[in-house]
């Protein structure tokens, strides 16, 4: 399994042609207390760069864009009852959705962990 990162502060775990998407620890820190997450329903078709999910902190709603194109297989059901999982375990239990990749070549050009760490350090 390989983990990629985007400059929109999402992570993507890829295993074959299936992937799991969430937001990074840096992103949850910037957002603050998460009170609501709207995840996409299974079967929804996502286009790279298009709206995929919405994450709401006490003060604001933020869009989460699809880091790659694909078809959603599952939204994280645990976030409905416990949206704070995104704060406590953003890169684990606080995942947002899973999808089947439409075009694995879209992963080219995404960052690995070291590149993302350097990217965040430069912000």
């Amino acid at each position: 399994m390989t983990r990629y990162f985007t400059d929109e502060h999402e992570w993507i775990d890829v295993d074959g042609d299936s992937a799991t998407v969430g937001i990074t620890d840096y992103a949850q820190g910037q957002l603050g207390d998460i009170v609501f997450v709207e995840t996409p329903d299974a079967g929804k078709s996502l286009t790279k760069g298009g709206d995929a999910a919405v994450v709401e902190s006490v003060k604001a709603a933020s869009d989460v864009y699809a880091p790659v194109s694909g078809t959603v297989t599952e939204g994280n059901p645990a976030l409905a009852d416990d949206p704070a999982l995104v704060n406590s375990d953003p890169e684990g239990e606080g995942w947002f959705f899973k999808l089947m990749l439409a075009d694995p070549s879209e992963l080219d050009g995404l960052m690995d962990a070291a590149a993302y760490k350097a990217f965040v350090a430069g912000l």
């Binding site: 937001i23 009170v35 994450v55 709401e56 902190s57 006490v58 604001a60 869009d63």
Partner: protein, 379 residues
């Protein structure tokens, strides 16, 4: 990710630093632009800061607000031509919430007016303070002096334990009741302190020379009851307390009756009139306004925020003007304006968020009971 409903209100000019800028940064605050200034939005997190204020005491830097002294012969009568409050009846050390009204009765700002020894001490909102000063200068006679206290900072200490912390540093402040103010000494330094605030809790607002504010803020935060609190929690606290935020819940297109602020039209002024828009406003006071500011309880967990339209069936009957997650209520809440026929408490409506309808119920404000230290109330 991108914020679609950010609290930031950037102006075209670069935001200015306030006297406590370095103090906030040293305490780990995240700074944002608000009302033309760089201000702390949070330290530990909005949820924790909100709950701390409700159970203990929170220190807020509100130095962006405008502090004015109006003085001169006939200042009461002159100011009464611009606001609907009874200023003449304001005794020394008494404070009143009032409204700066446009010619047609729209709200230009909401403000606090206190009778101080030097004149009328007025605190106005930061985002519109320059417009307010220009409006006052244009409409008050030349013999009325307007002094803008730009060399003073303003702190708010709010919460049930605010009195315990502050009286240890400034003896005697516990003698004040809600909406009273006076001069108190911190060592040799005189401070102007009122028992008021904008969180719904007991608390104080402290006007202090900018050169001393960092030392004073350090001293307050050394008290076990006190932590610094950012703008984020200030917003969620005032929303739970049902208090309108100027520029969001109130604006020049809204009159005081629509804004559910008829308490700000003093009794004498109701019979005498003589304030801007008094014809329209007194008529609305007698007959009711076409729309009204109300509270909204939201079904489920999804926040309903500013700008969401409110529906009764297919008809748009109102709009949300403030909304978010309420930490003390532990649910999303909102405030908005709805057409009078739909404004009764208990009315079921729907809000539209990202194309989806969410059931909401009109409710009376506040969402969390006020805990003011009122004179004559059971202690």
């Amino acid at each position: 990710m991108s914020d679609t409903n950010e609290i930031e209100e950037s102006t075209t000019d670069a935001p200015l630093a306030l006297p406590l800028d370095a103090w906030h940064r040293a305490r780990g605050a995240r700074m944002v632009a608000f009302a033309g200034y760089v201000m702390p939005i949070q330290y530990d997190g909005i949820m924790a800061e909100h709950l701390w204020t409700r159970e203990s005491a929170g220190l807020f830097d509100v130095s962006h607000m405008g502090q004015l002294i109006l003085s001169g012969e006939g200042v009461d009568a002159a100011l009464e031509t611009l606001v609907p409050g009874d200023i003449a009846a304001l005794a020394e050390g008494k404070q009143r919430y009032s409204l700066l009204l446009s010619e047609d009765g729209g709200i230009l700002d909401d403000l606090m007016i206190t009778r101080a020894p030097m004149g009328l001490y007025v605190v106005v909102n930061g985002a519109v303070k320059w417009d307010d000063i220009a409006h006052l200068r244009e409409h008050l006679p030349d013999e009325i002096n307007i002094s803008h206290l730009e060399d003073r900072a303003l702190l708010a200490l709010q919460g049930p334990k605010a009195v315990d912390a502050l009286k240890r540093i400034v003896p005697g402040v516990d003698t004040l009741f809600f909406m009273e103010a006076g001069s108190f000494f911190w060592g040799l330094e005189p401070l102007w302190i009122s028992r008021s605030g904008y969180t719904g809790e007991d608390g104080f607002e402290i006007s202090i020379p900018a050169e001393h504010v960092a030392e004073f803020a350090d001293l307050l935060c050394a008290q076990p009851e006190v932590k610094p609190i950012g703008l984020g929690a200030r917003d969620s606290l005032r929303l739970e307390a049902g208090l309108p935020l100027y520029g969001h819940d109130l604006d020049p297109a809204t009159d005081p009756i629509e804004g559910d602020l008829s308490f700000a039209i003093s009794k004498r002024r109701r019979t005498e009139g003589g304030f801007p828009g008094s014809g329209r406003i007194l008529k609305a006071l007698a007959n009711g306004a076409a729309r009204k500011r109300v509270g909204l309880l939201i079904e489920g967990k999804m926040p309903v925020r500013e700008g969401a339209l409110l529906f009764a069936g297919a008809d748009v009957v109102g709009e949300v003007t403030s909304g978010g997650f309420a930490p003390t209520v532990n649910a999303p809440i909102a405030m908005g304006f709805v057409a009078a026929p739909h404004s009764a408490s208990g009315t079921n409506l729907e809000a539209e968020v990202r194309g989806k309808r969410v059931p909401v119920t009109v409710t009376t404000l506040p969402f969390v009971p006020h805990h003011y230290h009122r004179k004559g109330a059971a202690q």
